[in-house]
Amino acid sequence: MAETPQALTLAVGDRVVYPNQGVCRVTSVESKEVAGQTLTFVTMKREEDGAVVMVPEAKVRSIGLRKVATRPEVDRVFAFLRSDSDKANLDWKQRARTNVERMSQGGLLGLAEVVKGLQVLSELRPLPTKERELYDSARHLLVAELAASLDLAEVDAEDAVDVVLFPPGRERPKRTAEEFRTATGEEDGMELGDDLLEIGGEMELGGEAEAEPEEPEVEVEEPAVPAAKTKAKAGGKPKAEKKPATEKKKAPEKKHAAKAEKKPAARPIAKAKPAKGKPAAKAKTKTKAKKK
């Protein structure tokens, strides 16, 4: 997928591809003094809108800057688009990770892989918003590079890609989750259930969702039981702070109950030991009496 590392010598006037940015033209290669160090910077202008990017020459390779694809590379891309490699990964986390990698380091073929992968997936179900954006962005970069490489108008390059992806006169295939499962799911054991496949377009791919524990939902629902009961039942349940917002409006004695529950939270008490909850309840009634 990634290109083999090789020396990339850039000269003024060269057309290069900056990952995730598009086709740029090198406008100057000059030395500048930054914080006491003399560095050589490559200045590029994005062809699409004229935005200027400066990259230290030493970082050119590591950021994935490359020359515009050559004709054999373009031919390989069209061969890939025509091929039957049309199995999408159903695991959205894995898919997102792979696609980001392909976009930044995969070269022209990587862009084609993202476009084809998401197009195939869209034949199963509509793409979530983030992936629809990714699809558009990958398609834009692919078309721009193809147009630059073949010296075509962008519209011709896009149509050339789409004639392969959406052949004239052929019905759009309708796919089932089963097709994808046999191709990807069994290998890595990362299958998605039918319920998850039905998720609509607002799926967030951020890392926060991954970090969320699975259990709290059950515990949050419990406080609907009157406060005294919960004290007796739960004893040292360390989840008093996770009560739903509606509970805050309830009687003030509930607040006390919550406070009393916080004390045993410091101790690692297991749920299965309700006896230890009793002293906590007693202590709380004492404090109540004092206040009165």
Partner: protein
């Protein structure tokens, strides 16, 4: 603003209705900017790209989009990966688009089809790419059942076109 230029005589009702559909689709004004003769030296079926180059522009502001409507046939386009039937042409982010109504016998009855192709080509002028949703007007127009579709943009395409229109300087 979308300025519609007819390259042959059209029923004013058809032109009015087309303007209304385009206004609804893009949320920008659309008006008929008059008729124009076809450029000399070209014959039917026309090469869409050449025809668009040769057509004169009506008076328009910098961010206006000009849509030429013709009942003449357009030549299939030869692309790197094959030939495709051509119903119109527009350059990405270009100011002008061309649409042919040759596939429609009665423009009044087939207005929806003409409008869908017009939306597609105008979409390209606002930098929209082809869409994945077969219901969307930005779906590749050479596909089966495209002509039977509605004058509709999928949410992503609609948002993107609105964003482009908002960014227009004039």
């Amino acid at each position: 603003m979308i300025r519609l230029v007819t390259l042959d005589a059209y029923d004013p009702k058809v032109v009015d209705r087309l303007c209304k559909v385009l206004y609804t689709a893009f949320g920008v004004g659309c008006e008929h900017a008059g008729d124009m003769p076809l450029p000399a030296g070209q014959s039917e079926p026309f090469d869409a790209q050449e025809l668009l180059k040769a057509l004169p522009s009506p008076r328009a502001y910098a961010d206006d989009k000009i849509l030429y409507l013709t009942p003449r046939k357009l030549k299939p386009r030869s692309l790197l990966s094959g030939d495709v039937p051509c119903s119109g042409f527009a350059n990405q982010n270009g100011p002008r688009a061309l649409v042919s109504s040759a596939a429609v016998k009665d423009p009044e009855a087939g207005l929806k089809q003409i409008a869908r192709h017009a939306m597609h080509q105008l979409g390209h002028t606002w930098e929209l790419h082809h869409c994945l949703d077969p219901r969307c007007a930005m779906y590749p127009p050479w596909t089966l059942n495209y002509d039977a579709g509605d004058t509709f943009f999928e949410t992503f395409c609609r948002d993107k076109s609105e964003q482009r229109i908002r960014l227009a300087k004039s």
